[in-house]
Amino acid sequence: MLVGYQSWAFPKNPMILSTAVIGGPMEGRGPLADDFDLLHSDLRMQQKSWEQAERMLLDETCAKAIEKAGLSKDNITFFIAGDLMNQIISSSFAARTLSMPYLGIFGACSTSMEGLALASLMIDADSALYVMTGTVSHNAAAEKHYRYPTEYGAQKPPTAQWTVTAGGAAIIAANDGSGNHPVVTRATVGRVVDMGLTDPFNMGAAMAPAAFDTLVSHFRDFDLPYDYYDLIITGDLGKVGHRILLDLCEQHDVPIPRDRFADAGMMVYGDIPDVWSGGSGCGCSASVAYGYVQRRLREGSLKRVLMVATGALLSPISYQQKDTIPCIAHAAAMERIEGSQSS
């Protein structure tokens, strides 16, 4: 149901039946290691190439989500996925393995919430029984695709970010009224915002205005009090972008309490110094949303969480041609409603 200019409300409270998150070695060193279902110690994951490793990671994550939901893959009506590779091969090849009706999406690192919003919309409109949405990113595959060969020694500036090796998947279903599962209540589709930044090693600063735009739109469309959410997690802005976002809120008089903000890029690696400004990649917001947040919603330590996943929509060609970096952010609200009844 359209609310305001660019948001959807989900009055039937589609529920997150299950989620799965699988990570790599670096993620195992971070503070969120316990929130992963499985961690690989080998970055190559016994595959022949980085691309195959990424694909396998998504395959595995989807299989885990289906297993945790107690379903079989024939039960899933639609599969919505995206990733960072050219022609989103990881998602399409995973869809081949799963052989489900499939919609491929691209939102760069915002893919997780784009997928979750679309999946919830389908369920809320009774257009599907179960929708699985997933995304994946792999550090070495992204380095190869966007930057340098993985073994090339380059010194990066402190604004650079470390692509997360992780797959995240969620299965959305109609609310059964039990109140046992977190629900998706709202979503805001972001606009592409480009403030003219060109440095691919500083995507936090490029994406922060997109996150701000979506955030403001979300609160405007739903007319929510600014302290409605227990936690607002932005995608992968990292330390640099997170600081800019907080200052933007202050400058534009958006009184969201500062302690309610967190950033997936900062959460996933904590204080590991090798990651510069923090984590990034599709797997970053996906692993935080489907791992950390889901676990805490299910435990009850968090009740209302707004996830604002940000994406930098650049390509290796566009930045070589000196184009600026267009950015986007999609928001989805996940809540725990005790004994919720589907209306």
């Binding site: 090339y152 380059a154 010194q155 402190p158 003219g196 800019i244």
Partner: protein, 157 residues
């Protein structure tokens, strides 16, 4: 180019760019320069030691010892790259390892390793010079012009 972009940017964009710039952590330039100077210097010392080895132990002339010295440094870098330690060291050392022949060797070996998955012809051979190619092309072009200037100066004399 950068100026053109700045002219095209709206006042809001320019304001934000300054806003963001003020919140970026500065590159640790002094640290990077110091480390690059020391590490680059040490690599040169190592090169000199290898060259002396060739001169005094294997009886090369000073001129002839240059090529095997470079080959040894390249081989060492290739091995370190293959073992996965060079990138970690280079990330710390920066230009210290990038400027000497070690940086050139690393750029070729890392590209060759990375594209091995695409096969020997289209992968390794086609991408080996992906990073090193620009160094070779502009090295040859600038060498040509320097040689041209020198020749003209010699003729003019």
């Amino acid at each position: 180019m950068a100026n053109q972009k700045l002219k095209k940017a709206t006042p809001t964009m320019q304001k934000y760019q300054q806003f963001a710039k003020a919140r970026e952590p500065a590159r640790p330039i002094l640290r990077n320069l110091t480390v690059a100077f020391v590490v680059g210097g040490l690599i040169c010392v190592l090169g000199q030691a290898i060259q002396d080895l060739f001169i005094h132990v294997f009886g090369f002339s000073q001129k002839d010892a240059g090529n095997p010295t470079v080959a040894v440094l390249i081989a060492l870098t290739a091995m370190a790259t293959g073992l996965g330690v060079f990138d970690k060291f280079a990330r710390w050392a920066g230009a210290g390892t990038a400027v000497p022949v070690t940086g050139f060797a690393n750029s070729m070996v890392s590209a060759a390793m990375e594209y091995r998955t695409e096969g020997f012809v289209l992968g390794v051979a086609g991408n080996m010079f992906k990073l090193a190619g620009s160094v070779i092309v502009w090295g040859v072009v600038s060498a040509f012009f320097i040689a041209l200037i020198r020749t003209l100066l010699v003729i003019g004399r």
